[in-house]
Subunit: 226 residues, 2 copies
DNA sequence: CGCCTATTTGAAAACCGTCAAAGTATGTGG
DNA sequence: CCACATACTTTGACGGTTTTCAAATAGGCG
């Protein structure tokens, strides 16, 4: 029962969709399941990277802390997505910390097991390349967005990026939005307030809904809202 | 002769080191060679991504332009390194532009050829995963560095990152350094002038040499130079 | 020697972060 | 069901950092 559930999740995740039932069963044997409460840390930056993970249920965020202690949210991941993979493929410690957002169940696969499995299943390796390529593209795109732009534009771009992945309603607090955009909570609030007045977004506690994506896009590349 | 040279370069590049001579010869048949003068563009952001490239000789930079026209240098690549790969593995257009720095020769491999070759050579796929993983790690690390830090720290980190890849002497102008750090030429000059006064770096026109890496590291994570 | 590019410097203004204080949902325990 | 605790949101004022604009100097190459 639990096993079946695991296989179901693996099958539906992007990177393992090419596997048949026998191969999935083989892979499943290598997995261990772990459960976390909200806000718990799965691993910390610098920890030895033994496992690579797939989310069965819940949502996690990947964070890097600067020397001043301020956190920067690199990414959010949901069901079927992998995380902790960069370290595993490079034989280094985790380059960032992973923290749950809600109750979360994950599947872990030991590094060695996964690497040998990969060597025997080229389609999976190609999927991983594709996923890593997409993430690299995202990271580089954000890199460009985060420098040399005003806070208003950075926030607009972060919201648009999130909306393209999860729809117009974004389940984030202003603080999380700020941490994803490299700014402060107060600045995020000031900007979103202005956007709300203009009818470009709608906000509820802990949620932001984009009403006018066109205007938001204009704003993200154009002059500031006066 | 030319063929042999190509195979030599491929053999020495990180991602193809696992191949034997027969496989290298097979791969070489798929390659075309192109030559560029300094400052020429190999491809532009948005171009259809048909080819993936390896550098035989010279150096290139990968740039993304923001809406205001300001360029941000994502990376520099040298002999044996690949570029243009993200787009190829994702079936999209190039996400950034590639421009030569000096006279440069490159090998191009058609997307379809390369993908099918990859499917038949798992070790190469694993190498690519490793390279992409490293680049992803770098990009995410820079992402953290670029936000929430002062310009002085951003510049220090950029210089240290470059030095770790190419030694203490960095062949870049202040403007390039600024473009890599998300700041302006003037700010880069003001900061490097202070560093020069302190004996931490030495500068010549178009070049910066790091003299005291320890102090620079301290500066990159600590308080500002007063 | 002259041109082009890189480097330098100064002053003013814009932008954003910090600090402080208060208002407002959400949930919990009594 | 109410009171209270907690976290999220809001607003204002101030100060520091960085950009912008303008102008001048200097190094390298033909």
């Amino acid at each position: 029962m639990a096993e079946t559930a695991r296989e179901e999740v693996l099958k539906q995740s992007l990177i393992f969709s090419s596997l048949n039932d026998r191969e999935l069963a083989e892979l499943t044997r290598f997995t261990i399941e772990r459960h976390f409460k909200p806000e718990e840390f799965i691993f910390w930056e610098g920890d030895t990277a033994d496992y690579f993970y797939i989310i069965i249920e819940g949502r996690i965020k990947v964070i890097k802390y600067s020397s001043s202690g301020k956190g920067f949210i690199i990414a959010f991941f949901g069901v079927g997505e992998m995380f902790g993979e960069v370290a595993v493929f490079e034989d280094k410690s985790y380059p960032a910390s992973a923290q749950t957002v809600v109750d979360t169940r994950i599947l872990g696969i030991k590094k060695e097991h996964f690497l040998s499995f990969l060597g025997n299943h080229p389609p999976v390796a190609l999927s991983i390349i594709s996923v890593l390529g997409g993430r690299l593209r995202d990271a580089q795109s954000r890199l460009k967005d985060m420098v040399g732009e005003r806070v208003e534009q950075r926030l607009a771009r972060t919201m648009l990026m999130l909306a393209s992945k999860m729809g117009p309603t974004l389940p984030f607090t202003r603080q999380e939005l700020a941490d994803m955009s490299g700014t402060t909570t107060e600045s995020a609030i000031r900007v979103t307030s202005r956007l709300k007045e203009r009818g470009i977004i709608k906000t509820v506690r802990g949620k932001i809904t984009i009403l006018d994506e066109t205007k938001l896009t204009l704003l993200s590349e154009g002059p500031p809202l006066i």
